[in-house]
Amino acid sequence: MTPHWRSHSGTLVTILLLLPALIGFFGLFFYPMLLTVFLSFRPEGQVTGWTLENYARFLSDPDGRWVILLTFILALGSTALSILLSVPLALILREKVRGHQFYRLIVLVPLVIPGLIGALGLLLFWGVRGWFNLFLTQLVPFVTGPVAVNYTLHGLIMFYVWLYFPYTCVTTLSSLESLDRSIEEAGAVSGATRWQVLRHIVLPLITPAILAGSVLTFMAAFGAFSVPLIAGGNYRPLSVEIYKEISVFIPARWSAASAIAMVMGAMQVIFLSLYMRYVRRAGGAGGIR
């Protein structure tokens, strides 16, 4: 006797169940995305017609190309620095030193804080009157004046690292912890010093996870919006540029904004597929778990 809820028209029920999600997905994501695509090909301010002029204008303008370059610099720079920060951090955290649970929580903080707040705090801390510069000018000899961090490129990259390194760190740490310690013991017995064990055994085995985590960091950094909006100063990556088109200009330049959005999406997809291919190749040779 079949229970009531397992109906014979299983597929129909499944579809009905998925209906709200599908409606939401299409109405609030897919259709708007399509609309953005269409808008990007529409001449500015008009209701009909197709044109490539929005793309042409953005891509031929040196400022436009600079915006693309800037977004990549910010994303790649912060990703690279995140890796440099996360790997040693993960190696330390897995040793379960005193208070390691506290430090693990600290690592998670930037993930749960809205970018806006993080950016605000960072601006205050690294500003001319913030503690960093107070420390430099008052407690460090040979420093004559405050160091500019806010609204600089390197400062912005550091802000990105603050916000997005946890993705890399958490995935790296979790991969480290799933490593069988006896493999490292085998390495030590075979004559490898701790550094050699790290270099020849541990690092190759966690590299896939580091790369996977860094993809998350990259995507977050590439699409960052609220942070560069308030802390970017004159540096406007793609996301802010899009917003500028519809907020600064009157009437709002929807088509221009859409074209930039398409460029942004395309860049991200291209980069990601290249990266994934590289990751897969590196991961394959390194031995999949």
């Binding site: 808008l39 330390i92 705090g121 009157r129 993705y167 998350l216 959005a261």
Partner: protein, 278 residues
């Protein structure tokens, strides 16, 4: 041994100290911005290069509440949050049920697709959302902004709830059947209590994300639907760091409280989960 080798060797040998230095610096790095926001929000006369504000005051909070309209803004944020959570939870329950318990070809693909609104920078499709809302006159309405939030909140709801439903042991349901429960009774006495924790978790996640959501709100808000994140952003534009800090504190306290609560129950590392499978 060359100089670099010697230097690296010294670093390696001193790695215990280095390690603790790194951990402490990291803590400072992460925590200091919050401290500064907190101090700025209560500081009076903090114009010069001082480590701490010379006087403490609640003036800025008072300003935020009286002139900055924080209660109204808070009300907006909460209403929008509730609507977004309600819609997302409903979507999540049904979709979670489908993902968790029903046969579905291409389930993994579907799961990845569900997460797309979070993977793709919201600004890209927010444009489309804004355009649609202008046409449908949903801009500056509670429902409109809430719907915009649903696109980023619902995926989390679906993720959590599909895990919840998947974890629902079929044998328990069978036992209920054997004991004589009909579908309705079984739903209320067995299924609902079992999925309640998942529903609650999903609601907390979804509400938190709606509460913090900025990008989509920025493109769909109006004078009647200013939320906390947007209000804080506008305060930045005004240039008064003190006010902005006060608003930021008001905004962030609930999130930290929830983080503390969650950390005790679930593994916080699961917050990153759902991005696996990249």
């Amino acid at each position: 041994m060359t100089l670099t080798r010697a230097y690296v060797r010294a670093l390696w040998d001193g790695r215990m100290i280095l390690g603790y230095t790194l951990l402490l610096s990291l803590t400072l790095f992460i925590v200091a911005p919050f401290l500064m926001i907190a101090l700025r929000s209560v500081g009076k006369g903090w114009f010069y290069r001082l480590w701490l504000p010379p006087q403490l005051t609640l003036d800025w909070y008072r300003w935020a509440v009286e002139v900055g309209n924080i209660p109204e803004v808070m009300k907006n944020t909460l209403i929008i949050g509730i609507i977004a959570t309600a819609i997302s939870t409903v979507i999540g329950i049904f979709a979670g049920w489908a993902f968790g318990r029903r046969q579905m070809p291409g389930k993994e693909v579907a799961m990845a697709v569900i997460l797309l609104p979070r993977m793709i920078p919201p600004i890209t499709y927010a444009l489309g959302v804004a355009k649609i809302f202008y046409t449908l006159e949903l801009v500056d309405t509670y429902l409109g902004v809430a719907l915009a939030h649903v696109s980023v909140c619902a995926p989390y709801g679906i993720l959590v709830l599909s895990a919840t439903f998947e974890g629902l042991d079929e044998r328990v349901l069978e036992a209920a059947d054997v004991c004589g429960a009909n579908t309705i009774k079984r739903f209320f006495y067995v299924v609902l209590p079992l999925i309640m924790p998942g529903i609650l978790a999903s609601m907390i996640f979804t509400f938190t994300h709606s509460y913090n959501e900025f990008t989509l709100t920025l493109l769909t808000y109006g004078p009647n639907t200013v939320t906390l994140p947007v209000r804080t952003y506008l305060a930045v534009g005004d240039g008064y760091w003190e006010i902005t800090s006060a608003m930021a504190v008001i905004m962030v306290i609930p999130s930290l409280v929830i983080l503390a609560m969650i950390q005790r129950r679930a593994e916080p590392e699961k917050l990153v989960g759902g991005f696996k499978g990249v």
